[in-house]
């Protein structure tokens, strides 16, 4: 196809993508380097807005806690999704008759909006009338009937559990696809040699799944760092109770759109830039580490 024709075909997509995604993405960083008076741009302050985040109230107290919650959220989801998700995918692996049906059932929760999921669990876990605590009491586990989302020590773990419940079908599908891509001859040969299911998994399948595990981990990382709608539904924009479900995206939202701070554009842009670097840097680092592991496993 000649270049001119090709360009005509590409032009509408490029114009749309350029104006609404690329241009804002590229200007986002520059916002953080200036001082702002309302919506009017002031002088260049270099990294001044970034230092505000680490020295001035309320950021100096909210940002580290929120960031810690993001990290806990990432570690928790990642740990559970990689072990439980992989376990389920492995159990499903040779059940050709029921695999598709089960995969579909596991996938349904993640079609639902995180806002709906957040509100749904807020109601289900309610200490007053929630069916979860009522059921726990019904089977004699009164000690476990706790105010899951109302207790500052428990809330973040409850949020992690809700998110894992919603998303577990995703790693199940991805690991299922990866397991399906491994030649059957390999595990058959191991069986002939007398290896148990566990040995076959540990020694043959797991190393070959490294790329899939890496993909799931990187996606989980990006997802965890961006988490917004679920915590918003569970704890409002302030992360109640007592900031226990605060996330960095919530701090960003409050700063940019709910604070009267005259320099809100500057500080919230610095937060966005920081998060951007964290996500991109983290994803790059993970990909690099993954390549190394892969090379070692494959050789």
């Amino acid at each position: 196809m000649p270049l001119r024709t090709a360009l005509l075909f590409v032009l509408p997509a490029l114009a749309l993508f350029g104006v609404f995604i690329l241009y804002p993405m590229f200007t986002a960083l520059s916002y953080s380097l200036f001082e702002w008076g309302g919506t009017k741009r002031g002088g260049f302050v270099g990294l001044g807005n970034f230092s505000t985040l680490f020295t001035a109230e309320p950021f100096v107290s909210t940002v580290p806690i929120a960031l810690l919650h993001n990290v806990l959220f990432f570690l928790g989801t990642m740990l559970i999704q990689n072990t439980v998700g992989l376990g389920i995918a492995f159990l499903l692996f040779r059940r050709s008759s029921t695999r598709r049906a089960l995969q579909v059932l596991y996938a349904i929760p993640y079609l639902v909006s995180p806002i709906v999921i957040g509100y749904l669990w807020t109601l289900l876990l309610s200490p007053a009338f929630g069916p979860v605590n009522a059921a726990l009491k019904g089977i004699g586990l009164d000690g476990l009937a706790l105010p899951w989302l109302g207790d500052p020590d428990l809330a973040i773990w409850a949020v992690i559990a809700i998110s894992v419940w919603q998303w577990i079908g995703f790693p199940v599908l991805l690991y299922g696809a990866a397991l399906g891509g491994i030649p059957e001859e390999l595990s058959e040969a191991a069986r002939m040699d007398g290896a148990s299911n566990w040995m076959t998994f540990r020694r043959i399948l797991l190393p070959l799944l490294t790329p899939a595990i890496g993909t799931v981990s990187v996606l989980t990382f990006i997802f965890a760092m961006e988490a917004f709608a679920l915590p918003y539904a569970v704890g409002g924009s302030t992360g109640s109770p007592a900031g226990a479900t605060d996330f960095i995206s919530l701090v960003f939202y409050r700063t940019a759109f709910e604070s009267g701070d005259p320099n809100r554009i500057g500080t919230s842009s610095a937060m966005a830039a920081l998060l951007f670097v964290l996500i991109f840097g983290g994803a790059l680092l993970a990909t690099w580490a993954l390549r190394r592991v892969e090379r070692r496993v494959m050789s």
Binding site: V10, L14, T98, A233
Partner: protein
């Protein structure tokens, strides 16, 4: 990735070996035996029970919910739906969601299909650079550009406009759609176009009459798969819309939740209304959704 997508079936009889290897798999017993099956079905119940409770409780009266958390919805009472649909303006939110989602999916699918065709058929360096630009969008956390997007919308007069959201979501869908569709176009034999050219068709006619019908399964996959995140998105409409009569369901739900914080039954109905279209879509297009989710995974 192509293994997970429906390919246009070649007219010549295909060698039967891929099917055979799948059959052979069933000789090796599934992992975990009966205990494994029980565990898998138990998890399926855990995955679905909260969603079933959501539907279940929406058909009970609020009084009944509060006094008997584990009660049954008999006789079913649909009055909470009336509260949500008319008093709670969920009908208005629903229409807004449909306008935004359908508009954006149509827009990004049309422009991305055109662009993908050119990306697959041109060997020019310029086109390669543009393709790289599009694909980089797959990794961009675009929610972080919300401030520049806000001010861009402000300068274009698109704040508080459903059309603005259609443009934004249309643009944000371009990378994924191009990613899936361009690999699909690449599999189509170039002879088809040469034949069409000899018959006197120009590039546009070849695209519409010859290529488009062949990639229809992939186009459907992309459209269905883009529908879900746009329908569920929360941050963009929260920030970019002002009047509540413009809200789509997820944002409308937050004001509905605040207004009916004591009427749990109505909230359950609101959650069901927000989720229903996705479940319908899922039942109609399970295969496309699963294919879209695993796109890019298996080799």
């Amino acid at each position: 990735m192509t293994a997970t997508l429906d390919r246009p079936t070649p007219s010549a009889p295909t060698p039967p070996d891929p099917r055979q290897s799948r059959h052979r798999r069933s000789i090796t017993p599934p992992v975990g035996g009966r205990i494994g099956s029980t565990a898998l079905w138990t998890y399926a119940i855990i995955a679905l029970i909260p969603l079933l409770l959501m539907v279940w409780n929406s058909f009970r009266t609020n009084r009944d919910l509060v006094t008997n958390p584990l009660g049954a919805p008999f006789p079913p009472n649909a009055s909470s739906y009336r509260t949500a649909w008319t008093d709670g303006s969920m009908a208005q939110y629903f229409v807004n969601s449909v306008i935004i989602t359908v508009g954006a999916v149509l827009l990004s699918t049309v422009v991305a299909t055109m662009a993908s065709y050119a990306l697959a058929r041109s060997r020019s360096k310029v086109i390669r650079v543009i393709e790289g630009l599009f694909l980089s969008g797959l990794m961009m956390p675009i929610h972080l550009a919300i401030l520049p997007i806000f001010y861009l919308f402000d300068s274009l007069g698109l704040i508080n406009s459903l059309f603005g959201l259609v443009l934004l979501y249309g643009a944000s869908g371009v990378p994924f759609s191009i990613f899936v569709l361009s690999t699909f176009f690449r599999q189509l034999p170039a002879e088809l176009e040469e034949a069409a050219q000899i018959d006197g068709a120009n590039a546009w006619q070849t695209f519409v009459k010859i290529m488009l019908p062949l990639v229809r399964p992939a186009v459907v996959t992309v459209a269905v798969f883009r529908f879900v995140p746009i329908w569920n998105d929360f941050l963009f409409p929260l920030v970019l819309l002002r009047d509540s009569d413009k809200y789509p369901l997820p944002v409308g739900l937050t004001s509905f939740f605040a207004e009916n914080s004591a009427n749990y039954s109505a909230i359950f109905a609101g959650l069901v209304i927000t989720t229903l279209p996705l479940i319908v879509l899922f039942l109609l297009a399970t295969k496309q959704i699963v294919a879209g989710l695993t796109a890019g995974m298996s080799k």
